[in-house]
Each structure stands twice: as C-alpha cells, then as structure tokens.
Symmetry: C2
Subunit: 568 residues, 2 copies
C-alpha cells in the first residue's frame, strides 16, 4: 500500500492558507499509484473555491443548473483511501468538499468538516410583542437589511433569508409545536427592520410567535454544495467523519452500489452555541443498489431528514412512436438525473393509484434536456400507458441497513424509506419532531418511487417523536404512500412491514399509521408514556391501518378490515 502525504505537496497543517491546489496535485499523484492512501498530518486545513475544480453535475435533490467548485474531485479512481488522521477541514464559500464519480473501492475517514461561515445563521429572541418579535443576531452572522429584506452575508455570497426554524435551547430541538410556522410562505409575510445594530424586529407575524429565549435558525441560499456526492460509484466507505455543516446535504448518493457509513456523524459543533448542522438532509440516496449500510452514526440538528432512500418516477408526456415516449422529470431538484440506461428494467404505474400495470426493458435513452427524455423501449407499449402513467427503474433498488444510530434535533422527519430492497432499521434511538420513520412514495409531487417489499423495524427506541404534530408526519411510524384513488382490486402499494421489539416513549397517541400495505406485523413493542411534553391524561396509544391486507398486530390477526385501530 502506497502512502501519499500532503506534507510533500507544500502544505503543512494549521497554515491557514488555501490547500486546494496541493490537494489537486496530491490526487494526481494518487492516480499513478496502486491502492494509495492520501494522508493528512493532523491539523486544520482550509479550502476556498477559487482554484477548485469546476464541473456541472445535476446533483439530485439539490438545486440544479449550476456548476460546482469541488475540492476533492475524485473522478474515475479506484482503491484510494483518504485518511484525515483526525484533521479538521474548513471550507469557505460555495465549495463542494468531495465528489466521488465513477469510482470503485474508495474510503474517506478520520476527519471533520465545517465551514468558516456557514450558510445558516442564528439569533436569539430577546423580545416578543403583539405580532412582532426582536432577534439579536451575533456578529459572526453578518447581515444587511436590503430593500426591507434580511440578507445574510458570507464569503462570496449574499443571500436573503428564506425562513426561520425556532429551536428550544433546552432540548436543542425544534420548539414543541413549532414546525415550519415561520418558514417559506409564512416567513415571506413578515416585515423586517433593524432596531439597533445586531437587533432585528420582525412584525406582521400573526398569532403564533416565538418564545422569549428561543434560538432562531435563519435559512438562506440554495442547496448548492453537499459534503459528499457519490455518483456512479461502487464500494464507498465513509468512516469516522464529523460533519458540522454543509451547504446542502451531508451525503448524497446516486446510481451507486454498496455505500457504507460508519461513525459518520452529522453533529453540532462543540464550543459554539450553534443549533444547526447541515442545511438539508444528513444522508440521501437515489437509485442506488447493493447495500446502503449505516451504522453507529449520529444525525442531529440538520435542516431536513437524517436519511432518505428512494427512486424517481418519470411521468408520461407524449407518445412519439409505438415503442418511444417523451418522458418528463417533474421536480426541479430531480432534473438532469440519469433515471434509465439501456438494458434496465422499468415498471409503469398508474399515478393516482400507484399500481403497476406494465414492465419492460429500456432500449435507448436520449436526454433532450434536464426535463425531457426520449426513451425507446424494447417492445410496443400498450395503450394503457398514457398521461396518467409514471414509470420507475426497477433495476436499481438498494438494500438498507440502519443500525445503532441516533437521530435527533433536526427539522422534519426521521428515516424515509422507499426502496424495494431488504431493509433493516435496528437498534436506533430516534427523537424527531416529525415521524421517526416515514414510508411513502408518490408520483404527483415529490415523484419519489420505491414500494417497500421487506422492511424490519426492530429494537429501536422512539423517544418523544412528533413534537411538531401534525407537521412532518402523523405518527412515529408513518406509512403514507400518496394514493389519490385506491386500487379497485384492493391491491396494496407496500408490502411486508415488521415492527417488533421497539420501545415507544411517547407523549403522543399515534404509534403507527399506515395505508396500502400487504403484510403489517406489529408485535412485542413496549409503549411507555413520556412526561416530557403535555398530553391528555386519558390518552391511549394507537396503531391505525387503512386499506391494508394481512395485518397482525400483537398476535391478533386482522385479515380484511378496511380500517384497523388498535389501542393500547
């Protein structure tokens, strides 16, 4: 095994200067070697975008139509290990730390990732009045008021604030019953002015107001720079990595086989009062295969879910020939994705019921532009394929194992599972303001495909989930495929969901809610009442299932009911 040491490329730790060009040269050196290890002597390294490699990537679930500046452009490499030896990597501005594209057997380990100036900002509520509140914003989150907008400033960027998440400094989580009430459209209604240097007043705030002392997280910018973009790669390992921030997701994988995350921690930065980490999901995997193995990881305080695994539905747009369709990628953040390649197997579904009605193979794909693709199939398509159809790739579906992880303090949900691979969710402690586990699928808004076939949720602790109910999910385990019109035959979208030996510590009645599953097994779970949040004294805990088949809840079989409510 050959060692390449960063010190041989003119870079010492703790210099404070830009190590980007040295990394570029070291990677070029590694390309000449067999199974190299690139070693960083322990210390702090800084990376700016100025000399970073620029590429256009359509990174799924990020904002498109932009080029990215990449510090570690790992493209077409095999067998490289990057060992940070406990170093801290500090990024500046719009910089994407790692791209692994067309790689095999790559490992990145033993390092910390943070930004000098994060894209998120934070302030404390110091005054609350009728329909208005004042926030003190510390000097390390510089801002301006421009055209009556609150605009945050960073290294090479200026971005208007687009929303606020209210955090409880005691629980370090979104405040009880807060949710997105100051985000998106609600944020846009607020009036902003500076009342004194570092103090900003928000007025026209409506009836729900933040609490004195709350920390507010200000969201701005687009999803530009995930920590790791893993694309068309096999056998990727990320180990012992602490990620304090990214301008996007922590890890986003696409069309990659076998991804392993061990002690990959999206984690608050100690020594600061920051209550945020990454500005979107901690991890997210689109059309992967093999196994996604996530073990011993902490996912806290990111601005979206800890993990989401899914495929993509393209929709029918126009029939061009007997065997050829013009298909559309609908969601803006999915545009440009390579959904199908020749030889891959596809399944057509009916958009309203999500029920499949035809399968075949892809013969050729011509991407016209990120939105429209001309796809030719290996046979004549039946007339049932029409404007009500969507289509998914069934050649790519990962198994997923999430074990001994902790998820807490983030905005939104916990683990979002839409993959037909085998799934194990075991030994985790999940404490999320929305659903701890969400099993959805829809072909009309998010276009995230992948009916589950075999999922085991076992030995987990669900601790005070759904603190922002009904926002972000209606039960600790929320099985909610977005079916507009159930199948007339009674067929189900999902199958075989086992929920066993878990502990629910809950202040909230809904343990499991679900619909359209053939095979639900809820057994041997322990339910404890939590006193941490207010709840009705006489509350019972419930499992609610609708349009499901082959249901067993705690040894009671419910073979055919349209609506099953089990109370504890």
């Amino acid at each position: 095994m050959s060692i390449v040491n960063m010190k041989d490329f003119g870079v010492e730790p703790d210099q404070g200067s830009d190590a980007t060009l040295a990394v570029f040269a070291a990677i070029e050196k590694c390309k000449e070697l067999e199974r190299p290890t690139l070693v960083f002597p322990k210390g702090t390294y800084h990376f700016w975008p100025e000399y970073a490699v620029e590429r256009q990537y359509f990174i799924p679930n990020h904002d498109q139509n932009k080029n990215r500046r990449i510090t570690f452009p790992l493209i077409g490499m095999k067998g490289l290990t990057i060992d940070g030896r406990g170093s801290e990597f500090i990024f500046h501005g719009l910089t994407l730390p790692f791209v692994l594209d067309g790689c095999q057997e790559m490992t990145v380990k033993n390092l910390t990732i943070d930004w000098e100036r994060p894209m998120l900002s934070q302030g404390q509520v110091i005054g609350v009045a009728n329909q208005s509140f004042d926030v003190e914003i510390p000097w390390d989150y510089p801002y301006d008021i421009v055209d009556r907008q609150l605009v945050f400033k960073g290294e090479g960027w200026q971005e208007p604030c687009k929303g606020i998440i209210e955090m409880d400094p005691l629980t370090k989580s979104p405040l009880f019953q807060s949710g997105d009430y100051l985000n998106y459209g609600n944020y846009a209604k607020l009036h902003v002015k500076e009342v004194s240097p570092g103090v900003v007043r928000f007025s026209e705030a409506g009836s729900q107001l933040p609490k004195l002392g709350s920390q507010l997280i200000f969201q701005c910018g687009e999803r530009d720079c995930p920590g790791f973009f893993i694309n068309n790669s096999t056998d990727t390992q990320l180990m012992a990595i602490d990620m304090h921030h990214t301008i996007g997701m922590g890890v986003i994988g696409q069309r990659s086989e076998n991804i392993s995350l061990q002690s990959f921690n999206v984690k608050l930065r100690e020594g600061t009062n920051r209550l945020f980490t990454t500005s979107a999901d901690a991890t997210h995997f689109v059309y992967c295969r093999g196994i996604i193995d996530i073990e011993g990881c902490l996912f806290e305080n990111q601005m979206d879910d800890p993990c989401n695994v899914h495929g993509i539905y393209m929709t029918f747009f126009k029939r061009i020939a007997e065997d050829t369709l013009l298909l559309r990628l609908n969601h803006k953040q999915q545009r440009g994705a390579e959904v199908f390649l020749p030889g891959e197997r596809v399944r057509f579904i009916q958009k309203q019921s999500l029920m499949p009605h035809f399968e075949t193979l892809v013969k050729s794909v011509r991407c016209l532009n990120p939105e429209f693709y001309l796809v030719t199939f290996d046979r004549k398509l039946p007339n049932s394929i029409d404007l009500h159809s969507a289509v998914e790739n069934v050649s790519w579906a990962a198994d997923l194992r999430i074990r001994n992880c902790i998820a807490r303090g983030n905005r939104a949900r916990g683990f979002l599972i839409t993959t037909s691979g085998k799934v194990w969710i075991e030994g985790n402690t999940i404490s999320t303001p929305g659903a701890a586990i969400k099993i959805s699928g829809d072909a009309n808004y998010w276009f995230e495909s992948g009916a589950v076939q075999d999922i085991t949720i076992r030995n987990n602790v669900f601790q005070d989930c759904n603190t922002c109910f009904p926002e972000w999910g209606s039960a600790a385990i929320d099985i909610d495929p977005e079916i507009q019109k159930p199948d007339s035959q009674g067929d189900c979208y999902h199958a075989n969901i086992i929920i066993e030996n878990n502990t629910f510590i809950a202040f909230h009645p809904y343990l499991v809610k679900g619909q359209s599953v053939n095979g639900v097994f809820v057994r041997n779970n322990v339910v404890k009442r939590s006193e941490r949040y207010p709840s009705p004294k006489q509350m019972t805990f419930e499992v609610i299932l609708k349009n499901c088949k082959n249901v067993i809840v705690d040894h009671i079989k419910y073979p055919s009911e349209p609506l099953i409510i089990v109370k504890y």
Copy 2:
C-alpha cells in the same frame, strides 16, 4: 446524395406548432446517411426551447455559466447540408438556433432567421423637455415598470432595460454624435415612469437628450443565444442566410478551420420599422485557422461590430513548478475557453509593451475551472515569465478575406482584425459610427490577441465613418494596440498594413491613425469630402502614425519619425 425531407417527420410548413422534436428526429436520421441533405419545404417553421437539446457550452464573447437550449444540435457530424429552400425559421424565447460542434464539411443555406419576440425593443421619442424625454413604446414590445425599472417582457423572460441606443430614422443609423450616451452607466442614472399606457418618461437625463422623432433601441438581457456557434469544426459554409435577430451574435466561431460566409446577411426585417438586428456582433471568430472567407454579405444595424477576429491572451497567475504555470482567463465572457491543447505553440508577451519574449510548446493542460488552468510546457520557463506576462496560442491564427460586403447602421465599429494570418479587406462599403477597421490587441482589458503580420485594405469605400467620434474609434482605419509602455528597442506590435486604392468619403479629418506598426503603406487612396454631416470648412484630412517603422504614405517614405502626420 441522400435527401431527408422534414415533411417525413410530421412537420408541414406554416403549421405554427413547435418543429423542434421533428428536427431532432430528422437529424438522427441524417446521422445514419452518407452526405445527407436535410430539406425544409418552403414556408415558416417555429421553434421553442421547451424540447430543445440542452448543453453547457462556454461560448466565447457570450455570457457564461449557463446551459443553452439548441434547436439544431449538430454534434460530431460530417457532410450534412441543411437547405431551408427559402424558409423562415422563427425562434421563441431563449433558444439557440444552430450549434456545429466537432463537425466537418457542413453547409447551412437558404433560410431566414428571426424571433417572434426579439430581446431588443424599440420606441419613438415623442417629447423632450428639460432633462427628460418621453418615449412611445408600441404594443409589440410589452413592458412593465417594476421597482422603478423599465422591464421588458418576452416569451419566458423578463429583463430590465440596460441601455438605449438612439437611432436616426432617416439614416437608419445611430444618430450623429450619439454613441453610448444613454447606455450602461448613463442609462442607470435615468429615472423611469409610465405617464400613460405605452408612454414612458425618462428623467434626470443630463444635458444630452435624444431628438424628437428618434427611434430608441432598448437593450436588455444577456448574450445568451447566438445564431450559429461553430466549435471545433472544419469546412463550414453558411450561404444565403438572412438573419433578422439573435439573442447574442450572428455567428461565433471557435477553434474551427475554414469558415465561409456567402450572402450571409444580418439584415433589417422588411415590413417592420425595426432598426435593430442581432443584439451583439454580426460575426466573431476566436482562435480559428485556415481561412475565414466572408463574401457578399450585408451587416447592418446589429448592436455591435460586424466582424471581430482574434485570439485570447491568458495571463500569468502563479508559478507552480519550473515548467508549470497557473494561468488565468480574465474576461468574464472568455471564461471556459479551450485556449491551449497539448502540442500547440505558445508565445509569451510582456503585458505593458505587448512585446514577445519567449515561445515554447504546451505539454499538458488541466482546466481547474473556467477561470484557472494549470498548464505544463515542454521545458523549463525562464524567470522573465512573471506577473507581467501574458501568453497566446500561435498555432491557431486564421487567414481572413472580407470581400464585397456592406457594413452600416450598427452600434460601434466595423471590422476588428487581430490575427497573424494573411488578411484581405477588399471591395467593401463601410459606413459605421465608429472606426471602419480597427486593428487593436491588448492584454489588459479585453485580452484579445493576434498581432497582424500582413493585411491588405484595398478598393473599399469608407462612407461617412466615425459619426459618433470620438466614441468607438478615432479614425476610419484605427490601428490602436493598447500599449501602456512602448518597447524600449523600438520594436513594433503589428506589421505590414497596406491601405491602397480605397475611397474615403469623409466629413471627418482622421483617415488613418496608428501606432506600433512595422510597415505601413498608404497609397493611391481617393479622399472626397462628404457634405452629409457638419464639419469645419477648412478641415484637412490626416494620416497620423506614431511609433511606426518603414512607413510609406503616397510614395513619400518616412523612415524613422516618432510621429508622422500626413495632411491632404
């Protein structure tokens, strides 16, 4: 020769629907054939961007960092002829008509190009008062006043006005002594309000005001969609094409060999009162070779020069190793250009004097990003190469023949020549508000390289050039390399400029101004006084040369003077 007819792809002329998908299919068909001709039955065809092929191209001298939607994506093709048979192609929104990339022996002919809604707008001055003027904007140039800005609206775009060019409806040219006085920074000072539907008042206009009855051209948007982008191609012919508008240049060629334009007309649209054509240069060629042959073309009323031929200077940024430099592309519209490839010959110059001091070959090029390139050369570089150095590619320099063309009515200059190939400018009639011919070169602002070595300007008529003097050039023939500090040895940047048998019909004294040329031959020209524009009664015509060597002006030899003024 095989004919592919558009009517076989579901498109009839004059249908009014989008022919883009049919063109895509027809091009795919052509790829299967030997030397095909794609024929359009005569009529009108429409093209929208929605289903057009999208690619990222760094198109030189256009705005970068964007993807383009391309109607005719001619990529890697050979021997295709597209014959419009006199058809009219109407484009909609941000659509780039033709890309020829990596092609050989391609011909496009017999067609007209226009836009349903051009990116330029036009209105008439109907009132002039103290520091303010009113403009009537017809309904076919829809606009809004947004945040006190005049914003024009088109198909899929809304763009603030960025400047005004004042046109004289009698001469159909920029008004005498107008220039850019209402453009760029001067425009930004104007206050705008609507005084009645379709009438906009501009106030705070300073002392120079437009004339009652003038037509004003409103510029907006970026340089997005040239008519033809010819990249990495050989033997391209454009024949009998009338181009009434583009959102960018008419033709932009890069790294291409042998480009022929015959009866390629950038031309006002008859039947309208439009006084504009393309929104930037009619033709522009960067690092081409072989011959650029422009014959019998009309270039009128485009918003920049009729033709510009040049290379690019990259500048020294940092020495990385004995043989390796970090080089920079400085001008924003040059970013991303492929300036050097391995094996090509480069010349280093001193930025202030433009004098060369070292030549060598390129060994490897690694484009880090559109701004910075790591370039390794075939030998150790001398210490004289430093922050004062720029470098050009001397393996690419086109010959240029411009014959029997007419240039008139446009904003800015005429023919801009910076190429070391052999150049003939013959038999043209040039009537431009700036210099008719500009021979420049600079390494500090535009970074356009290419000292001329052999240029013959013969049998042309220069009719009333420099109507906007001193803006856009100080003589009909303006030889003005931007030398900050002349070479101490007296060496010259340009060489061998012959100006003979031309007719200057001029109201303006300066026929030729020049500096830093070794070999200027001005002979047998006819100079006539024009009465069309006001000029002093006692005016003499002048040829002014500075820091030139080997000068012959009308059989009088001027061997060594630092400043030569010849009066007629």
